[in-house]
Symmetry: C2
Subunit: 322 residues, 2 copies
């Protein structure tokens, strides 16, 4: 026996980007003696078995949690309540049950009633991801230097919380704890509202009759393409996020609208100084994010640039100049 | 004499990200026999001389354009009129005068009256950039596979337009021509509105009293950080863009607001199907942009991920599990 494992048997319900990345990272770090995984569709379970990132792939959620001391539910937040109900009777005494959902208030509300006493329920949200989804999209390094937020209910066993925190740290994450309500407000501005806005503007561009789709695509390097990455995120996951965190998102949207009106008024009034001052202030936030390692300092996110053509392309009029 | 040069003497007025990148690329590709550059401040001119991407650095705009057969004005659009007035009397007969501004209607309006007959005035906009600015920020590959839009007035000499197009193609760009009005509408949605929104939301996040600045920075990987890159763009350049393209930006903003209201109503009504359908549709736009090579197919823009810690971090409670 190595002294590395933090948990004996890790059960993952859901094997998309997050579940699949947890499995890969947990195995690499040796923090669980065995990993059992399940997914809703037979096709996904087959693919997970082929990818081999779990020791065992089982057909039902109930079978997955049998004997597991850590269960992580890695599915859209709208499905968490039903899954909790399903696994509740099968959980091992003393097991830790967690999730990875982007909303925490609704997850606590939906899952807690179905979990038996003696189980440690510690909701979690690793703030990490890409625009891809599905079992092939995960990778072991996804959580490195990212933050995982735990929202344990007030009377949760401290040792259980610290054990789960240690698990996430082993996966490379930093860990912070807060209340579900505060989490939902913070993520409302740092994640949910940005997604709502990106989804909106990408749809707006597609619907314009004066500007063709081809023009939108070709000239997207002017800024628009950045929004399309976010607006390519998993539709089911994001549908659930907006339904589950409606109040906080609407609250943040209200603030955003006020500020947008302010900038619009400055534009209409030709108040260049107000625009300049605002744009100078926002530049500082970017520096702060880069300084704490939450984004790359390399220009343009480090997007690659192809080299120049070896020869200038045909220049029919070059001779004019000789 | 090589047969490569398209122009004999290239004058660059302004040596920031775009001007500096043109100089570097033009020299690498040998498309101008000599490059003369100038900048408004003595400190910038000194830095340009140190960087050595121009053959000659001169003190005034008038001196820069003397004997040049291609003059490119690479400065914020709000300053283009004054510079045109300054260089007008010094332009060589038959010279091509161009710019790189993100707005074209205002540039035509401001510059054209000051340019003498016999000069080819061909406004241009290379749709490329990064969040960085200044003479150190440029690089020769910036324009590769990006689009450069030319907006020549109706009676412009075709040979002159094709020569300038050949210059941009030699720098790696694709070239398209359109009217200034259409350009300003297209860029309103693919560039200006995205910037306005990004600048707004980054300011909104900073101003929240319920969420600390530290929280905004730490949890920015949830989507917000993508917006901060755009909101770190040059404040002077963007102040001028919004003042110069006010009408098109307000028009696009109106459409965006309508669509945002629609999604907000769906959220409030709990209409998950409407949200899901919208989010599925926007995913396709991303694929289109990646398919035509305007963005990387690599997840998360290809942002690097650090490796996992070699050893799991301290786990005080791991022993509980042995």
């Amino acid at each position: 026996m190595t002294d590395k494992p933090i948990f004996n048997r890790l059960a993952l319900i859901g094997t998309g980007l997050i579940g699949g990345s947890i499995a890969r990272a947990a195995r690499l770090q040796g923090v669980a003696r065995s990993i059992v995984a399940t997914a809703r569709s037979a096709a996904t379970r087959k693919r997970v078995a082929e990818l081999g990132f779990a020791d065992q792939v089982v057909e039902t959620n109930a079978a997955a949690v049998e004997g597991a001391d850590l269960v992580i539910v890695c599915i859209p937040v709208g499905a968490c309540g039903a899954v909790a109900k399903e696994i509740g009777p099968h959980l091992a005494p003393g097991a830790t049950v967690s999730d990875v959902g982007s909303v925490k208030g609704s997850v606590v509300h939906d899952m807690a009633p179905h979990l038996p006493a003696g189980v440690h329920f510690i909701p979690a949200h690793p703030v990490a991801g890409t625009e891809n989804s599905g079992p092939d999209s995960g990778f072991a390094e996804l959580f490195v230097n990212r933050w995982c937020i735990l929202t344990p209910p007030p009377k949760t066993d401290k040792a259980a919380v610290e054990r789960l925190a240690g698990f996430w740290r082993a996966l490379g994450a930093n860990v912070e704890t807060m209340s579900p309500e505060h989490h939902d407000l913070v993520l409302g501005i740092t994640s949910h509202l940005p997604h709502l806005i990106a989804y909106t503007i990408v749809g707006t561009a597609e619907d314009l009759s004066e500007v063709t789709r081809s023009e939108v695509l070709k000239f997207s390097a002017g800024g628009f393409r950045d929004f399309t990455r976010i607006a390519a995120s998993d539709p089911t996951m994001w549908r659930d996020v907006f339904l589950a965190n409606k109040d906080a998102v609407l609250e943040m949207l209200g603030r955003f609208q006020d500020d947008l009106s302010g900038l619009t008024r400055a534009m209409q009034a030709g108040d260049g100084q107000a625009l300049f001052d605002h744009f100078t202030r926002t530049r500082a936030i970017r520096r702060g994010i880069v300084d704490i390692g939450q984004d790359s300092a390399i220009a343009d996110f480090g997007r690659g640039h192809a080299g120049l053509p070896a020869e200038p392309l045909p220049r029919p009029y070059a001779a004019d100049n000789e």
